[in-house]
Symmetry: C2
Amino acid sequence: MDPSNDHHKRMDSLNEVNYNDEENDVEYLGDLDGKEDERLWSSMSERNGSMRIPLLRKRTNNTSQIAVIGAKSCPIESLDYEMIENELFKQDWRSRKKVQIFQYVFLKWGLALLIGIGTGLIGFFNNIAVENISGFKLLLTNNLMLQGSYFKAFLAFFGCNMLFAIIAGALCAYIAPAAAGSGIPEVKAYLNGIDAPSILAPSTFFVKIFGSIFGVSAGFVVGKEGPMVHTGACIANLLGQGGSRKYGLTWNWLRYFKNDRDRRDLITCGAAAGVAAAFRAPVGGVLFALEEAASWWRSALLWRTFFTTAMVAIVLRGFIQYCWTGKCGLFGKGGLIMYDVSNEVATYGGYDILAVIVLGVVGGVLGSIYNALIDKVLRIYSIINEKGPSFRVLLVIVISFITTCCAFGLPWLAKCSPCPTDSSVKCPTSGEGNYKRFQCPDGHYNDLASLFLNTNDDAIRNLFSTTIIREFQIPSLFIFFVTIYFLGIITYGIAVPAGLFIPVILAGGVYGRILGRLFQTLSVLDTGLFSLLGAASFLGGTMRMTVSICVILLELTNNLLLLPLVMIVLLISKTVADCFNHGVYDQIVKLKGLPFLEAHAEPYMRHLVAGDAVSGPLVTFSGVEKVETIVHALQSTGHNGFPVIDGPPFSDSPELCGMVLKSHLLVLLKAKYFSEERRLSGRDILKKFSPFDFAKPGTGKGLTLEDISITDEDMEMYIDLHPIINASPYTVLETMSLAKAQILFRQLGLRHMCVVPKSQGRPPIVGILTRHDFMPEHILGLYPQIKSQKH
Amino acid sequence: MDPSNDHHKRMDSLNEVNYNDEENDVEYLGDLDGKEDERLWSSMSERNGSMRIPLLRKRTNNTSQIAVIGAKSCPIESLDYEMIENELFKQDWRSRKKVQIFQYVFLKWGLALLIGIGTGLIGFFNNIAVENISGFKLLLTNNLMLQGSYFKAFLAFFGCNMLFAIIAGALCAYIAPAAAGSGIPEVKAYLNGIDAPSILAPSTFFVKIFGSIFGVSAGFVVGKEGPMVHTGACIANLLGQGGSRKYGLTWNWLRYFKNDRDRRDLITCGAAAGVAAAFRAPVGGVLFALEEAASWWRSALLWRTFFTTAMVAIVLRGFIQYCWTGKCGLFGKGGLIMYDVSNEVATYGGYDILAVIVLGVVGGVLGSIYNALIDKVLRIYSIINEKGPSFRVLLVIVISFITTCCAFGLPWLAKCSPCPTDSSVKCPTSGEGNYKRFQCPDGHYNDLASLFLNTNDDAIRNLFSTTIIREFQIPSLFIFFVTIYFLGIITYGIAVPAGLFIPVILAGGVYGRILGRLFQTLSVLDTGLFSLLGAASFLGGTMRMTVSICVILLELTNNLLLLPLVMIVLLISKTVADCFNHGVYDQIVKLKGLPFLEAHAEPYMRHLVAGDAVSGPLVTFSGVEKVETIVHALQSTGHNGFPVIDGPPFSDSPELCGMVLKSHLLVLLKAKYFSEERRLSGRDILKKFSPFDFAKPGTGKGLTLEDISITDEDMEMYIDLHPIINASPYTVLETMSLAKAQILFRQLGLRHMCVVPKSQGRPPIVGILTRHDFMPEHILGLYPQIKSQKH
C-alpha cells in the first residue's frame, strides 16, 4: 500500500462499489449561465420533471442558484452562520461595554416578546376574520336552504366562494407569488441556510395574512396553520431588521441583529410562535420548531422560543376571554382548547390496540400516497404557474369551482337522518349550528351537509366529538373522506396560501371515524377518539413528525390519557410511510429546487475526499490587492467569498490569511480608502469604519457593484484587505473524507469552507466548498459512475 | 499592520482587555502527576474548596483526569464521537451488505424497545417496592399512634427508618459509591463525552435500584426520579454492550454498538426512559433528555427516544391496570397521572397573575439559595465521604436520625383540626389515608402529621389537591416548608441514591400553598393549583429547565388550562435565579471536577488562537514505525491519540497522515504483525483483522500495555500503522481563534483535534487539542493575565 497513489486507489474503489455500471445518461445542456432567461430555464427544467438535476450536472454549478419560492422562481443565496472574526469584529468586540451587552440582551428578549405578541395578535385576527367571513357566507347559504330557495342558496354560496377565491388568488398571483402554498418548506429552507429575498418580504407577509383569510373563507380545503408559521417567521424578520434604513426608520440598537445568526434565531422563534398561534399550542409550537423547522438548535434557543410561545398563549387567552362577552361577532364560543375531547374517558382494551395498529398502517399508506400525489400535482401546477399571473388566477378559479360543486352538490347524495330525541340543541339548526337541514324535511338533518357546509374547524370538532352529533352514516363519511382527500391534493399548489395541517386532520379524522364504526362491536373506545387517532395517523403518514404532532394533538384536544395510543399510532404510521417516500415538506423542499443540506452525509461521500468535490475556478486575492483585480473578480464571478493569500514581503512564504466576503469588499471599495503603493494601511482604515457598516442589510440586495463608481485611476490603486479578512476560516485537508467535511459544514452552518493542501510546496489553498458542492446531484454529476449505487 | 508580528499583537491585546491587573495569585503545587496517590490529591484539593483549579493551573494538565463519581474519586476518560475513518473501517464499510444494515437497524430499534420495557419494569418495581415497604412502616406507626402507644410508635418508626437507611447507605458505601446522589450529573457528563468506568457499571445499576428503594422507604427527603434516570442509562449501557465478552455472553450482532457514538444514542434513550418511568411522563422524558441530559442531538434521535418512552408508557399502563385488581399490596390506587388535578378548573384574574409573578420571584430566590447551600453542603460532605466507607454510613445514620426526629417530633407542634363534616372519607383515618389522628382526640386530625407521616408522593398529592383535605393551617405549612427545605439540602450528598425532583416539588408545593392562602382573599385560583405553581417555580429556580418541566408537570397533573401560568412562573423563576448562580446539575457537575464542555466559548477565547492552547509534549509517529518507539511512547505518556507523519520515502515531503488511537495501537501490537524492515505491509494486515477487533469494549479498561508481552527482538522490528490511521482527522490552523476551535470541537464531539501550522517549511503538525485544553481553568492557568476579566 503506497500512500502516494492515494487518489488512484480511491477512484478504483469507487468503481468497485459501482454495482450497476449503466451508461452515462448525462445530458449537457450547453453553456447556460445564471444570467440567462429565468423563464426559459424554469420551464425547461420543469418539463424534464425534475427541477435542478440537468443544470447541476455541469462542472460549474452556479446556474442552480434559482429555486421556486411560493409559486415563482427566484434567485437564492446561502446564509452564513459563521462568526466572521476579522480585525473590525475583534476591535468592536473588545470595545463592547456593559451597556452594549445590555442592549443586546434586552433586545433579544424584547424582540422575542414582540414576536410573541405580534404573532398572537395576527393569529387572533386571522381567526376572527375567518370565522366572521366564513360564518356570514354559511349563515346566508343555510338560511336560504331553510327557506327552500335551493338555487338562490347555491348562487350565494358559489358567488361568495368565487369572490373570496379570486381575491386570494389575485393577491397571491399579482402581488406576492412567494406567499402561495404552506410556507413551511420555505421557512424550513431559510432555517437551513437558504435565503431568497422574497421569502420573508413585507409583501409576502401581507399577502400571506389576507390571502390565507380569504382562501380559508372561500371554502378551499386548506388550513391557516402553515401560513401562520410563515407569517410568524415574517414578523420575526421584519421586527429584527427594524423597519427600513432607506426611510431612516431603523433603530440603532437593532444593528446587533443585522447578521444571519441572530436573524436565524429570531425566525426560529417566529416559526414556533406561528404554530402556537395557529393551534393555541405553545409547547407544540416549540417542538414543531425544534423537530421540523430548525436545522440548528441550541439549548438557549429552546428557552427563548418557549418564552415567545408563552407570550402567544397569553395574548390568545386574553382575547378569547374578551370574546366570551360576545363582541367578536360570530367568533366567541371557542376556548383555549380548540377541539376539546377531555370529557370522553379513554378506556381501551385488546381489540382497541388492534384497531389502532390497523389505523396506523392505513394512515401510513394513505399518507405516503397523499405525498406522492401532491408531488405529481405540484409538478403539473408549476407548468401552469410559470405561464404568468393570470394563469395562476385561472387555476384558482377552476379549483374553487370544483370545491364549491363538491361542497354543495354531494350533500344531496346523503340520506336524511331523523333528529336525535334528546335534543338539548335545536335540530335542525336554523343558522349556525351543526344539524344542517339542507334538503331534508323538518325534524331531519343532513349529516353530510353538517360536514361540508361548515367551517373546517367545526367539521373537525364534529368528527372528534360524540356530544354534538350522535352519529354519521358510513356512506356520508366515505363520500366526505374521498372528497376531502382529493380536494386536499389538488388544492395545494394553487396560488393561495394553503396549510396542509387542516386537510390532513380532516381526512384523517373521517377515516378514523369510519374505522371506529367498523370496529364498534369489538371496541370500547369512543368513535370520536378513533377519529382523533385517525387524524394522528394521517399526520404521521404525511408529515412524519412525532413528538411535535403528539404534543400539538394533546394541546388541541386536552386528553392526556390517550397519549400512549397517539404515540403508538404515530410510530406505526411514520414507520410504514417512511418505507415509501419522504415527508411532505421535505419532498416539497426538494421539488422546489432548494439546496437543502441534510444532517447526514450520503453513503458514497465516504469514498470521496474534500478535494474531489472542489469545482470551478478558484479566485484568490493577496493581502494587499490591486483594485482592478478585485473589481474584475467581482464582475466575472458570482462568488461570495474569496480566500486571501499573503506572500512576500508580508510573510515568509505564501500562506492562507483567511477569507474576505464580497459584501465586505463592496463596502471597502465604496469607501475608496485606496493607497497608491502596495503597503499595509489597514490600521487607518480600521478607525474609519464601525463594524456595523459591514452589517448585512435586512431587505434588498444591499450594495452591488453597480452602486460604486470606480475611475480608471482608482483601478491602478491598491487596497489593504487585512481589516476585513476573516482570519479564522474553517479549513479541511484535501484528503478529508467528503462525508466528514459535509458534517463539519452542516454542523457549523458554514457558507464557505476552505480546502487546504496536505503536502507542502503547493499553493496554500486548493479550493472552496460551498453548499452546492455537497448536493448529491452535483457530486453524482461529477462522478456519474457512482450514480447507480444510490438506488 | 504587519501580519508577521501577529502573536505579539494578540498578546498586547490580551493585556489591553485586562481591566484589573491584579497580582498573579497562582500557586504551583509542585510536580504532581497522575500516578500520585489519589486520596492525597482529592483531599488536598477539596480542602482548598475547589476541586480542580490548583491542578489545572500547571502547564501540563494530565493530572486532572480524576473526578468525583457519586461519592468516590475515579479516573475519567474522554469519549470519542468522531467516525474513525481508517482503512479497516472503509474496507468493512464497503463490504457491508443489506443483511448487515438490517442487523444494525433491527438492533437499533430492538434495543430501544428493550430499554423502554426494561426501564418501565424497573420503574414499576421501584414504585411497588417503595409503596409497600414505606406503606408497611407508616401503617405500623400510625396504628400504634391510634392505640396511644406513642413511644412504641416512635421506636417502630425510628427502627424502620434506621434499618432502611443503613441498608441503603451500606450498599452505596461498600458496593458502589458511584450510585450515590442523583445520577443526573453523571449521566449528563457521560453524554457530554466524559466516561468513568463506574458510572454505568452493573454494580452501580443494582445499588441504584435497591439503594433508591430503601433510601426512599427510610423516609429521607429524596426522590426516586434522578436515580431512575441513572438506572435507565445503566440499562441502556448494559443492553448495548450485550452481556460480558469474558463469559462468552456477548452477541455477535451487538458488535455494531461497540463504539461511543451508538452507545451515546442508547444512553440518551435510557435517560429519557428513566424520566418517563419516574413521572409516567413519556413526552416529558423525551424533552428532559433533549433539554438537560444530552449534549448532542439529532432529529433521528428524537424519534427513537420517543419510541422508547412510548414503550415505557405502555408497560407502566399495563401494570397499573393490573394493580387495580388489588394484587400489588399497598400499591394500586394510582392511575397513569400521578397528581391528577384535572378536576380543578383553572380560572384566573388579574390578581392571580400578580400572585403568580410573586411566586415566580420567590421561587427563583429560594431556588438559587437552595443551589448555593447544596454546593456548600456537598463540599463539606465530600471531606467526610473521602475518609472511607464507614464514615459514609455514619453520615447516613446521622441524617436519618435528624430526619426521623423531624418527621415524628414536629407534628406535636401542630394544633388539632376538627374533621370535616362532609366526611365521604373516614376521619381520622385508621391506617392508610390522609387524616392522621396522631396525638389528637377523636374527631380531630393533625394536619402536619398528614404531611410528615406519609409517603412523599402522598404528601405532594395532598398539597396539590383540595378534595382530600380541606385546608392546612398556615403554621403547619410553614413548619413543613422550613423542614423540607433544609432536610432536602442536607440529605443530598450522603451515600444514598437521592433524587432532587421530589424534595423540590415538595418544598415548592408547600410555599405555593402558603402564598395561595395569603392571596386567598384576592385570588380566584384554587390553593391546590397555587401549590402546583409553587412547585413549578421552585423547579425552575433550582433546575433551570423550562420546556421539559412544563411538559412533565402537565403530564403529572393533567391540567392543560394551567399551562400559560406554569410557563410564566417558570420563565420568571428561571430568570431570577439565573442572576445568582447556575442550575443545580451544572453546579454539581462542576463541583465533581467533571470537565464538562459547554456549547458556547468563553469570551476571552476570542483573543487566543488554537496554537496558544496547545500544551504538553507532542509525540508523533511515522507511517511505518519502530515497535520500540511506540511502546516507549505508550509507556511514558498518557496520550490516547498520536498524529502520524509520513515522510520520504513514502511521500515527497513530511505530511500529516492522520491520527492513530492508543487502543488501536495496542490491538496491533498484540497481534504482532511486525516486519523486519521499514516497509509497507498494511495490505496484508488488513486481511487479518476484522474492524470489530478494534471495537471499544463495553466495560473494563480493555487491552492495556501490561497485557502484551513484547520481546527485545520485537522491539527492533517495524510496524505499518497505515491500516489503522484515521486519515480524516479534523484539523484547525494554528491561527484559528480558540473560540471557533472550541465550537468545532464541541459540535462534532471530538476527542482529539489536530492543530496544523499556517506557514510552510515547518513540521506538519503543531499539536493536539483535547477536552482539557478547552477548560477555562486550564487556559486561565496558562494566561493568568486574563483571569480578572472573567469576573
